[in-house]
């Protein structure tokens, strides 16, 4: 699904913020990415959701080399990835409904075909009453839910979430985690960056990736050579 091999990332002439990152993400697996602030979690996620190319190393996604991939092919890959941003990044002049429908519209789904899934998603996140509300009128938790709904509505193969439960109450956090788990059971590979240790303990079989000072801690080599690969 995702392969990083000897990946390094630097911004300008500064020292590398990520160095020698190597791992394999298996299809249908669930990963938590942890580490202290400034360890490079967001930079790693940026490379995962194709907002940043690495400075060195090999990145393969869905079996294709992304480092050398021409720019015009990237949108097709991005449509297979759902991203929940820490700062939500909702489009402020669009309603909650339109924000959620955005990935489907970009993918060319007709209005007729997208109204059902969008309505279901609004019900699921408990915002069907506020479907036409603009993000500015929603609470932080409500915005977070809209952002998550937008990330998952197109049934991505890879779901990346950066602190997805940072702005929601524990009950909603568990509901959101339940959604991620459900998507994972349907075959979506999930990567969640979080500081919340309670969240991590809630998912069985989830693997943990820990970043420290720009390097990935992989003492057993399981991230680089997962069991399936060893066989």
């Amino acid at each position: 699904m995702v392969e990083f091999n000897g990946v390094g990332l630097r911004y300008g002439p500064d020292a590398e913020v990520l160095a020698d990152i190597s791992f394999n993400l298996q299809p249908g697996s669930f990963y938590f990415l942890t580490g202290p602030s400034g360890a490079g979690k967001t930079s790693l996620l940026k490379m995962l959701y194709l907002a940043q190319r690495p400075s060195r190393g090999i990145v393969r996604l869905f079996g294709e080399d992304l480092v050398a991939m021409p720019r015009h092919r990237l949108p097709g890959f991005r449509r297979r990835i759902g991203v929940v941003f820490q700062d939500f990044r909702l489009i402020s002049h669009l309603s909650a409904r339109d924000n959620i429908a955005l990935p489907l519209r970009i993918a060319g789904v007709s209005e007729e075909d997208l109204s059902g899934p969008v309505g279901e998603m609004l019900s699921w996140i408990g915002l069907d009453e506020r479907a036409e509300a603009r993000p500015a009128t929603l609470s932080g938790g409500e915005q977070q839910r809209v952002a998550i709904a937008r990330a998952v509505i197109a049934r991505p193969q890879l779901l990346i979430a950066d602190e997805p439960t940072g702005n929601v109450d524990p009950e909603m956090a568990m509901r959101l985690l339940g959604l991620f788990e459900a998507l994972n059971r349907l075959g979506t590979t999930v990567v969640v960056a979080t500081h919340d240790v309670h969240l991590i303990s809630r998912i069985d079989n989830a693997q943990m990736m820990r970043l420290e000072k720009g390097r990935l801690a992989d003492p057993t080599g399981a991230l680089r050579y997962p069991p399936a690969n060893r066989i």
């Binding site: 194709l50 907002a51 015009h72 991005r78 955005l102």
Partner: protein
């Protein structure tokens, strides 16, 4: 497609603030000035061409023989001989009455026209014969005419009109070129305004663009959104500028229709000129859309 088709739901990705920025108004002013400059250029060029065509093959033979009877006979003989030549289209003796009427406008006369003014009548006026050549061999025609004049009216002066009206026509032609250069400069300024607008739009909506990119929007999808918006905004400006320019041109045309004398009477736009003026706004909209598209695509390529 000058204004690309974008689904209604996609149009909402950009906030709907039509005509809120300065772009349509700046474009309207530039378009109005462009059309006025173009109209001036076309009018001047046509005027210069009309004058050039009128004077290029025309000469006046001025017979100054002292004896008025001989002078009149020489003029009549010269007109007859000239009219019979193959290189002459027409030859006309200028009537003395007409000459006095012309002079009367300058000197003043009791009758106004001056035709029968006793003072003017007493002036020894030369006999004039206007001759129009055919074809382009001006030098050859002039040589033949000199021979003819030497035979029929020795001592008469031949005055080619191109010698004294030529510089005026050249000046008018130069002004037409200046007007053309102004049109080009204002077109470039309009394109620059569109480029700045496109870049400003990208800056204003950067967060939206980044988000659209990250969920898989192509450069083409994003460009169409902005291209449509910019094309419509500039089309509003172009339409407004064109309407104002048309009103000004019609007003000038109406006032011009009263001018019937001299060089001013030769200035007009003609069908080609009007066609050019009608085509300019359409070309401007196409140029704006194309410029916006190229600017947007170039800018988006800098974003991963």
């Amino acid at each position: 497609m000058i204004i690309p088709r974008v689904p209604v739901q996609h149009r909402r990705l950009l906030p709907d603030h039509r005509l809120s920025g300065p772009t349509p108004w700046v474009i309207a002013i530039l378009m109005m000035l462009t059309l006025l400059a173009a109209a001036a250029g076309v009018g001047l060029a046509r005027s210069a061409n009309a004058i050039g065509a009128a004077i290029a093959g025309r000469v006046t033979v001025q017979i100054v023989t002292a004896n008025p009877v001989v002078r009149a006979e020489q003029a009549a003989a010269l007109r007859r001989r000239a009219a019979a030549q193959s290189f002459v289209r027409s030859a006309r003796s200028v009537d003395q009455q007409e000459l006095r009427a012309t002079l009367g406008q300058w000197f003043g006369s009791e009758e106004g026209g001056g035709g029968d003014d006793p003072v003017l009548k007493s002036l020894p006026l030369p006999a004039l014969v206007d001759i129009d050549f055919v074809g382009e061999d001006r030098a050859g025609h002039m040589q033949a005419l000199r021979t003819l004049v030497a035979e029929e009216a020795p001592g008469a002066r031949i005055i080619p009109h191109a010698e004294w009206l030529g510089p005026v026509a050249q000046l008018i032609r130069s002004l037409a070129w200046v007007a053309g250069a102004l049109v080009v400069l204002m077109t470039l300024a309009s394109a620059a305004v569109v480029i700045m607008t496109a870049r400003a739009a990208l800056g204003t909506h950067y967060a939206t663009i980044e988000m659209l990119h990250l969920i898989g929007a192509t450069d083409r999808q994003i460009t169409r959104l902005f291209q449509r918006r910019i094309a419509i905004d500039t089309a509003y400006g172009i339409a407004l500028g064109s309407v104002v320019a048309a009103a000004i041109l019609l007003l000038i045309g109406w006032q011009w229709s009263g001018v019937t004398s001299g060089l001013a009477a030769t200035a007009s736009l003609g069908p080609t000129g009007w066609a050019l003026l009608l085509a300019l706004p359409l070309l401007a909209i196409a140029l704006a859309a194309l410029t916006a598209r190229q600017t947007l695509l170039a800018a988006l390529k800098k974003i991963l």
